[in-house]
């Protein structure tokens, strides 16, 4: 089991109120991602759940037990840190076994579980090395191994992939997803990268300034963002926002159109502009378009075969069914 409930949780550092009163329920077995720009309080929220920060007020409940006052190690959670936080003076084997040693697990069982974890993480050959002799990806695996052997009720990941290079990051992302499929344990994962959030999560929690902007599945957030912030944060390239007269036609203060929801044409369309930069990725082409009279730049995602040069006139047509409308307060109009 691993159902985590936050009730009215707040956190202040002195006069700085990092988390205003916040309620959140994470169901058992769910892969939940906290995402938001840096400084949005997502790491603080994770550390509150872990018990590494004290809550200022409110309750944290894990499987119907109030753990607000319980020390981190007694909450039955395991955490993987951004910096891996391996013990540099211990071998991989000792690192992985450390939590069990602290819990007084018999030696033979420790060895068994270390081997099982090492096998599943491809670390068997490295058990007698020190962390300093491992690559970033291997260190990350050791950190995960150390979490697995504790058999926790939930895993907490604090930006675990941000210290890895781009290629490894994609690989580890898959491994963690597979691990979740296999173990079906609750996982809470913090990241600032919306791609990680979209690809891995069962449920995404978008945070800004300590406030939950929206909770939902990746596609819910993509299709029906509750406000302008979520709309802008989820999706890559970012959604285009258009204000003024054009928005007023739709009966909104602001309208948002995703780059992939705009069709381009050389001769006719609803909007007209000049191509500033075109980026060819092979599969897709991104056009950055100026002089539309709508916004500074409109970004469009087109097919890889489409070709316009700098300075070309381009005509744009949004897909009307997926134009997002927002009111003056930035909230979605349905």
């Amino acid at each position: 089991m691993g159902r985590i409930v936050l009730e009215n949780v707040t956190k202040s550092f002195g006069d700085a109120h990092v988390i205003p009163p916040l309620d959140l329920t994470i169901e058992d077995g769910e892969f939940t991602v906290f995402v938001g720009p840096s400084g949005c309080g997502k790491s603080t929220l994770l550390r509150l759940i872990a018990g590494l920060e004290e809550t200022t007020s409110g309750r944290i409940v894990i499987d119907d037990a109030d753990v607000t006052e319980v020390s981190p190690s007694k909450r039955g959670l395991a955490m993987v840190f951004q910096s891996y936080a391996l013990y540099p003076h211990m071998t991989v084997r000792k690192n992985i076994a450390f939590p069990m040693r602290m819990a007084g697990v018999p030696e033979s069982e420790q060895e068994e579980r270390v081997m099982a974890a090492a096998k599943s993480l491809n670390l068997v050959d490295y058990l007698d090395r020190k962390p300093g002799q491992l690559s970033g990806g291997q260190r990350q695996r050791v950190a995960i191994g150390r979490a697995i052997v504790r058999d926790p009720t939930a895993f907490l990941f604090d930006e675990p992939l941000s210290n890895l290079d781009a290629a490894l990051r994609v690989g580890m992302r898959l491994e963690i997803s597979e691990m979740h499929e296999r173990m079906k344990t609750t996982m809470i994962y913090v990241t600032h990268d919306q791609v990680e959030a979209m690809t891995m999560a069962d449920k995404i929690v978008v945070l800004q300034a300590g406030v939950i902007e929206q909770v939902g599945t990746p596609l819910e957030l993509y299709r029906t963002p509750r406000n302008k912030f979520v709309a802008g944060f989820i999706g890559s390239p970012k959604m285009n926002f258009i204000t003024g007269e054009e928005a007023a036609h739709y009966g909104a203060e602001t309208i948002g159109v995703r780059p992939e929801h705009i069709q381009v044409s050389a001769d006719s369309g609803k909007w007209t502009g000049k191509v500033s930069v075109s980026e060819h990725l092979g599969s897709d082409t991104f056009f950055h378009i100026h002089d539309t009279g709508l916004a500074d730049t409109i970004t469009v995602r087109a097919d890889g075969e489409v070709s316009f040069k700098h300075g070309d006139t381009i005509h744009l047509t949004p897909r009307e069914d997926v134009v997002h409308k927002f009111d003056a307060a930035g909230l979605r109009i349905t």
């Binding site: 004290e54 006052e69 020390s71 981190p72």
Partner: protein
């Protein structure tokens, strides 16, 4: 949450120990400074025990302020500390720049240079004042004598003898006199602490941005300009640190002065207190309070500097 209380409690032993160490003797000093209290007095035996009935008010302070040695001691204290700071920083920078370039035997030179720092102050003082600076038996005396003999011999020489007969006889300097013993202290402490400055400046020089220097060379900066506009600003922080840490140690400089100055007029505050403490405890305590006040004034500025430099 209780898991924060225990770790914080761990600092109490240190705090309590230092609090006792600071408060108990200090409050006793304060008390003694307001009473008549001497160790030996045939005329007034009642003054040989500390007691409130011997209350003297600010009498001890007046006595100390009117003592001719007091101002001299403060002057000396400041002169010695400031000179040491000045010379160690100047020499430290020059030597650090000198040995920062790699050359054969750099490691050995570095070891030779750092050695004086570990010599115990008592040995340092005895070594310098007796074996090196002594006007008769020390190297100084021997060197001056040797020079005089050479000059004497040259006077006898034909043709150039007249030139050397114009030279005066050299006299060795006694470093045990009032004015010169402060110089002796400055020399020996500078010798001891310059290595410290060198070590710190050198470490800092090694972290200097080499690309920045290369950019400066391309911009046409000569060696001096590089030193003036790049190296010196880079050393700003280490210089502040050298000054701070030395000030902490030199404010209570004692051993060297004790050894050099026995029996002559060169006193700094700690030494004057020691002298008073031979009999007049009241005056010694009043001087002590003055020393504490002086140190606090310096410490106030130093600590603000340290706070800024080290705790950013």
């Amino acid at each position: 949450m209780s898991n924060r209380t225990l770790p914080r409690l761990l600092q109490t032993p240190a705090v309590v120990l230092l609090l006792f160490w600071m408060l108990i003797p200090l409050s006793m000093t304060l008390y003694f400074s307001f009473i008549r209290y001497v160790l030996n007095s045939l005329r007034r035996p009642e003054w040989t025990k500390p007691s409130l009935s011997n209350w003297r008010g600010f009498g001890n302070y007046e006595f100390v302020l009117n003592n001719k040695d007091f101002l001299l001691a403060i002057q000396n204290s400041l002169l010695i500390v400031c000179s040491i700071l000045f010379f160690t920083v100047i020499f430290g920078i020059l030597i650090a720049v000198l040995i920062n370039k790699s050359f054969p035997g750099q490691g050995i030179v570095r070891v030779l240079l750092i050695s004086p720092f570990f010599v115990m102050p008592a040995v340092n003082a005895v070594l310098w004042i007796n074996m090196i600076l002594d006007p008769v038996l020390g190297l100084q005396g021997l060197a001056v004598n040797g020079l005089n003999e050479v000059i004497q011999a040259l006077r006898e020489a034909p043709l150039i003898g007249w030139f050397f007969s114009l030279w005066p006889e050299l006299t060795p300097i006694s470093f045990r006199a009032t004015q010169t013993s402060a110089i002796a202290v400055i020399i020996m402490v500078t010798w001891q602490w310059t290595p410290f400055a060198v070590l710190i400046f050198m470490t800092s020089l090694q972290s200097e941005d080499q690309q920045q220097k290369e950019a400066a060379i391309l911009d046409g900066a000569g060696a001096w300009s590089q030193f003036r506009f790049l190296t010196l600003p880079h050393l700003g922080r280490p210089i502040a640190i050298v000054v701070m840490i030395q000030a902490i140690f030199h404010l209570s400089l004692y051993a060297e002065i004790e050894i050099v100055s026995r029996g002559n007029g060169n006193k700094n505050l700690p030494y004057l207190i020691g002298e008073f403490a031979n009999n007049n405890i009241g005056a010694a305590s009043a001087t002590g309070i003055f020393a504490v006040i002086l140190a606090n004034i310096v410490a106030f500025f130093l600590l603000r500097m340290i706070g800024k430099t080290l705790m950013e």
